[in-house]
Symmetry: C2
Subunit: 309 residues, 2 copies
């Protein structure tokens, strides 16, 4: 078994990060490696969060099965979920759309309808983008959010002894993709970015670390543990009705939040109807190691440069 | 002959703009329709410029002919050129890369090398991005720049009587694409974003309007005239050595600046070695109409939704 976070996408990103040689200059507070970059303008009371996410035909969606409104919704939801993970509030978004051969003007209009519906509901303004032709469709969503200066939630701030939580029930998106119908399919098509929860975690829970679950709990928790220099020990997470343990552990695109908090932090059992479940704790040990019920858990979440879907 | 700015890409973008129903709220000063969106944070002395640009395999470059370093350079240059067009200074960039089947780890590393070389030279920090697999490569570059509050150069501010200028000599990129060798090919592979010129036009020339030439003078000038509610009358622009008049008028990807200034504004003949040439004037008339030597000029620049390359 190859080690996902140390190969494939992880390795390539690490190489880029080293070459980018990011220093804390030019207003950049945090660069490559978290859900968003953090940018600080002189005089501003808020830090800006910037994130960009790709959605590629035949990788993240299929033309035959995914309605264009859902493609637009999911494109924006991916970016909003990154803003939620850092406790931010979305402000504006830009969409770059390479429209594939099967994406006609009507299909494109419906994609924007789905995107704009979610944008309106979350107070996000579509401020621009780019449009080009391609063989297959690829969308890149850019979201800019804001968070009070110095208060963004990061994935590298978990401490030994912190409790580990997840929002919602996991594996729904993977189950939906398998079934292609029913509640899980709806969940797959219309993930709900946990924006209000992210703000709550920052303001009230004072979470020590947070990130969103985009590539599967096993891989994402490994990334958080690695960034924080700790190991993580968990029990099986709550599952979406009908999802297998495998789907809950390794299925991607749930867009729930993974976060840590001091052991005595007051974390309600639910927030806005979404369960918040303590699944384990961070501890000293081998940075990035994850244990499920005391046995090593392989990071089988989705890695674009190892897997193919 | 169809009317490019009123069909194809123009029509689709206009539909999106209407549906986005952008209002001046949430810090957004300028939305869809210019080179960059303008975003203003409370308390900040500078406005932020945001732009996103796609570069798609077999549309904007070919794997067999374009070295990966040049693809990286051109991806970033596209975004930087938008910042230059508004008189801004680049701060950070993010690259979303959907790596195609022929893009192996070595090719990707070389793409980042080309991008990072230009980034370093222009003071732009690579702050993040996304990485995914796809059949063909698509890069989306996001650049965030800054400009003193309320001072960004826009394309919709030209006034009747203003002189029209272009930087550099046009048609080099189109000629290079045709030849595949020589100086024009180098020009095509390594366009130089006119960042210092953009700042000079804002600070010293006090240009009334500006935009970059990405889709060809005929189409881009039409867009500026349309945005400003004027018509434009020009003479043949300076040509890159060897380029035809057609290439200079309609060839895309020159990334020179098109700008207007009051008739008595002091515009030097050269700036930083780049010629600045007066090619005509704006006047009252049919918004968006362009005349070359007193004859109507069709907007034959590149439109992704009308042409195929």
């Amino acid at each position: 078994m190859r080690d996902a976070a140390a190969s494939g996408e992880g390795e390539i990103l690490e190489g880029i990060r080293r070459r980018a040689a990011v220093e804390r200059r030019g207003g950049l507070v945090l660069g490559i490696g978290d859900d968003c970059a953090i940018f600080r303008q002189r005089g501003a009371r808020e830090d800006l969060l910037l994130t960009t996410d790709l959605l590629v035909e035949d990788v993240h969606f299929r033309h035959d099965t995914h309605p264009p409104e859902a493609v637009g919704h999911r494109a924006l939801a991916r970016g909003l979920s990154d803003i939620a993970a850092m406790g931010g509030t979305p402000r504006i978004c830009l969409l770059s759309l390479a429209a594939g051969e099967r994406a006609d003007a009507r299909w494109i209009a419906r994609l924007y309808d789905g995107l704009l519906r979610l944008a309106r509901r979350t107070g996000t303004i579509l401020a621009g983008g780019d449009l080009a032709r391609a063989e297959k469709t690829a969308c890149d969503i850019v979201v800019v959010g804001a968070v009070p200066r110095g208060r963004a939630l990061r994935r590298d701030r978990a401490r030994a002894g912190d409790a580990i939580y997840v929002s919602g029930r996991l594996g729904g998106s993977a189950l939906g993709l398998e079934k292609g119908a029913g509640r899980a399919w709806v969940r797959h098509l219309h993930p709900e970015p946990r924006l209000r929860l992210g703000v709550f975690l920052r303001e009230h829970v004072r979470a020590s670390a947070a990130m969103d679950l985009s590539d599967g709990l096993s891989l994402d928790l490994r990334r958080m543990a690695l960034a924080s220099g700790l190991e993580a020990a968990i029990e099986p997470p709550p599952r979406f009705p009908g999802a297998s343990l495998e789907q809950a552990l390794h299925g991607g695109e749930d867009y729930e939040l993974l976060f840590t908090a001091r052991p005595r932090a007051k974390v309600p059992a639910r927030f806005g109807g979404v369960p918040l479940t303590r699944i384990g704790a961070m501890r000293q040990g081998q940075a990035g190691a994850v244990y499920l019920s005391d046995r090593p858990l392989a990071a089988l979440g989705y890695d674009h440069f190892r897997d193919s879907r």
